[in-house]
């Protein structure tokens, strides 16, 4: 078995590119007076979240890697290190990303980690770097287990995951409208991902793709950017702080407060952890389906438009 396989840590090597691209996007916005917005404290928070994400990877990365190496010891399969193996690994890891990302929006425990990425009301290249500090605690490394057990080396899987993250950097921009039609059909693009960052009812829980948008089309979560409604970025209830610690941990605190309320059954406490964001034991809050229904009740003429093609109206 190829136990000692190593690949470059592509994300850290991409840091100079990230900084250069941010400066280029900012220059474009300043010179052209269009193509996005930047705000000092928002950008600073996003960049600090990115730095914290790298730091948490250094500190806690051994947990996932140790888990993967145990699986690698168990599996009798070894697909080797050929170029085609890496390409297949990249595609399958992107499928893995799609599901982890979907879980990240539909399971509050995982959302608690991912929410910070959506907590900016801006959408620029610094938003791409507003990454989680608490991903290890979601246990979503389990979703990578099948890849290791199929014979893809852990180092290769993490290498592909790094490339996936780098690909997703450039799609966090308003400076690019739409890519050529063939590209939009297959790949995740700025247009598709703007939809994903929308807090508008029509755009909630859509476009989970990392690299290939085909996964959303395949699994029924694709929503195109709609000319009739500009994307409003951020959270359904936007946060009121730029403090990175609060950004990183606010949803975890929210889960704790909800799940430890007096008078709940154990089932209700568990549901506060694992049901979609917005679930409540007394129905006093709205999940995305409810938000969409409420919006359609107020705007019935929007039924059948993107994001509302399979939502029943009425409250």
């Amino acid at each position: 078995m190829t136990d000692q396989l190593t690949y470059p840590d592509v994300v850290t090597y991409a840091v100079p590119f990230f900084i250069a691209a941010i400066l280029i996007e900012l220059a474009w916005i300043v010179i052209k007076r269009r193509g996005g917005r930047y705000e000092t404290r928002d950008a600073l928070t996003s960049l600090l979240m990115g730095a914290g994400n790298v730091a948490s990877g250094i500190v806690l990365g051994f947990v996932a890697y140790g888990f993967f190496m145990v699986l690698w010891e168990i599996t009798p399969l070894d697909l080797g290190t050929g170029v085609w193996v890496v390409l297949v690994c990249f595609v399958l890891d992107d499928l893995r990303y799609y599901w982890v990302h979907r879980f990240g929006h539909r399971i509050r425990w995982v959302w608690a980690s991912h929410v910070n990425h959506h907590s900016s009301q801006h959408y620029n290249l610094t938003t791409a770097l507003r990454q989680t500090w608490t991903g290890t605690f979601t246990f979503m490394m389990i979703v990578r287990a099948p890849l290791i057990l199929l014979g893809f080396h852990p180092a290769m899987v993490l290498f592909c995951g790094g490339l996936n993250l780098i690909y997703q950097f450039w799609i966090h921009t308003e400076a690019i409208g739409r890519m050529p039609r063939w590209f939009e059909a297959v790949m995740n693009t700025p247009s598709h991902h703007r939809v994903h960052h929308g807090r508008n009812a029509r755009y909630l829980d859509a476009n989970y793709a990392g690299v290939f948008i085909v996964w959303d089309k395949l699994f029924g979560t694709y929503v195109p950017e709609y000319e009739g409604e500009k994307v409003d970025y951020g959270l359904v209830h936007n946060i009121g702080t730029f403090n990175p610690l609060r950004v990183a941990f606010h949803e975890w605190v929210g889960i704790f407060r909800d799940a430890t309320q007096p008078g709940l059954t154990w089932g209700e406490r568990l549901k506060y952890c694992v049901m979609p964001p917005g679930w409540s034991h007394d129905g006093s809050r709205n999940m995305s389906e409810g938000l969409k229904r409420n919006y359609l009740a107020a705007h019935p003429e929007e039924a059948g438009t993107p994001g509302f093609t399979d939502v029943a109206g009425g409250r």
Binding site: E39, T40, L47, V54, G240, F249
Partner: protein
């Protein structure tokens, strides 16, 4: 990448981008031009809680909103805004106006710049939460 290269690069990159943005005038706070703008900002957060009254601060950087569900505040989050109801809030007078402490980890405190009259008046509209 070795940490002795990565750490300075990240630190310089973050500091440089932040300084550049500030020098380019990207630190301006959101300005609520009129009551309609404040109303829109409130409804953006709470579309089902229609304001019955909106009181704009003298500098246009915050608004006190009254609704059937209770009072709330709209305030800047950088160039954008956010809003919260004031249930359970604690209100303190400060040199520059008021500080509103909320029971919300994601929005723990609102610092309002108000003139003397506003700082006297606003808490009376928030009184159910004091």
């Amino acid at each position: 990448m070795p940490l002795h290269v990565l750490i300075p690069m990240v630190a310089i990159g973050i500091a440089g981008v932040t300084l550049l943005l500030h020098l380019l005038g990207r630190s301006e706070r959101a300005f609520l031009a009129d009551e309609a703008a404040a109303r829109r900002a409130w409804l953006r957060e709470y579309p089902d809680a229609v304001p019955t009254r909106v009181i704009l601060s003298h500098d246009g950087h915050a608004a006190l909103v009254e609704t059937a569900e209770g009072p709330g505040i709209v305030w800047p989050m950088g160039a954008d805004t956010t809003a919260r109801f004031l249930r359970g809030a604690h209100i303190h007078r400060t040199k520059r106006g008021l500080r509103v402490d909320l029971r919300d980890f994601a929005a723990p405190c609102i610092r309002l710049t108000l003139d003397e009259d506003e700082a006297d008046l606003w808490p009376t509209h928030m009184k159910e939460t004091v």
